[in-house]
Assembly symmetry: C2
Homo-oligomer: 232 residues x 2
DNA sequence: TAAGTTACCTTACGACGTAAGGTTGGTCGG
DNA sequence: CCGACCAACCTTACGTCGTAAGGTAACTTA
């Protein structure tokens, strides 16, 4: 955005912070070495004194956002049973993740699991083990949570993760034709749309859906935990 | 791969099939206009007589794989309650998706929902409505399923979706050091690794995890369906 | 047979990541 | 004080990408 006139040299951290800001403002497609360098008031090749390659830049961006999530979730209250604790943690992570909607897509392009993720999941696992989970059930639970611990879900029906935001939808006429061949979808949209005047498919309240799915998983796991504990 | 000596002109379908084959064989990063053209025995610019742009090519690749899933799930038996039916369908979709592990990542870069996805979800929605779901609960269920109807889950801990496959992991020494700071993860891996001699993090049986998560969701939704039906 | 259309090709442009090597200005041992 | 060193930044250039512009050759049709 704005060239810096600073005299103190850059650092890896300053570069990564600028990269996050750039992606937040203009999407992941805008993160090029030249553009990032321009934002920092230097030339593209100078970035290579702070980072070995673009892949390392992307790794660093992921790491930066993960640190933000860590900071958000590290100091939450610890009262309540395991469900309340994890629920609080996942919802807090979601608040951080909402500031960086491009993060899920970027994370899924990383070829190695960022070390910080291990530490993060260690904490979640500890919460479940302390609550009496077997390692097996806790393992299954981690898979079932998917990416929810980091605050997002794979959403087929709201591709905000794609660069540049969603395309302008189909026309009114096409939509009517579609609805005719898909009566259930049409009826569902009609029934659920009442609290939003927006006729596009942006009518879903992601927060409500996220919490519903999370509770569905937590309650199901709690049931399994109890039955396993009773018979084991 | 092999240049064609065919005399009949290409078609959009042949181009898309070649693109899918190319990505299956060499990863999404290998799908460039020049490379695809070479595989087809033509020049890059000639592709533009069949497709308007690379984005359209990617859309077409997604559409092709979705059609494959449709074909796989269209003729399944329809006996059983809604849970058995959806379970059968999602697992069949998964079999198709396993042949194209790059598909989730590609799908998440599409800016518009492919029309075929609407039709696919119409069928799932119909199954639930016929089983007595309210539109509201069915709507929540669709969100809870996430991408499971298409046969995949967002897996933080197995980034096979990234191009080029997973990186060679940390060293033995680093892993030991990590384990010391993460006793629960270490214990879980030790407890769960017994049925696989592979000491890397590839020890999770994705099929088992997928089915576990799916049943967790289906059973939870069935309970909600019943209580809603009883009180409503 | 002439005109048009279809399917393919050639050339070229600007953006990308980055290899190779140059230019500063400050630090520090002698 | 000075010359070696080095960190931080710059210049130039290469190969690859998607694709705009326009050419050519073969087949179709009036």
């Amino acid at each position: 955005m704005a060239a810096k006139a600073s005299r103190t040299p850059l650092s890896r951290e300053r570069v990564l912070a600028a990269a996050v800001a750039l992606v937040d403002a203009n999407g992941i497609g805008a993160l090029t070495m030249r553009r990032l360098a321009a934002d920092l008031g230097i030339e593209a090749m100078s970035l290579y004194h702070h980072l070995p390659a673009k892949e390392a830049l992307l790794d660093g961006v992921v790491e930066t956002v993960l640190a933000e999530i860590d900071a958000t979730t590290a100091h939450l209250p610890t009262n309540g049973d395991w469900r309340e604790r994890l629920r609080r943690q996942f919802l807090a992570a979601r608040q951080a993740m909402l500031r960086h909607p491009w993060m899920p897509g970027l994370l899924s392009t990383r070829r190695a699991i960022p070390p910080r993720v291990f530490a993060y999941y260690e904490g979640i696992l500890g919460t479940m083990i302390d609550a009496g989970f077997s390692y097996r059930l806790a393992h299954r639970a981690l898979h079932a949570f998917g990416s929810m611990p980091l605050g997002f879900v794979q959403e087929i029906f709201s591709p905000g993760a794609a660069d540049g935001g969603p395309e302008d939808g189909v026309s009114e006429a096409e939509l009517a034709a579609l609805a005719e061949r898909m009566p259930h979808l049409a009826a569902m949209t009609a029934a659920e749309m009442h609290d939003s005047a927006d006729p596009t498919l942006g009518w879903c309240d992601s927060q409500v859906e996220f919490e519903f799915t999370l509770d569905l998983l937590l309650d199901g796991l709690e049931r399994l935990r109890r039955t396993a504990g009773a018979q084991g």
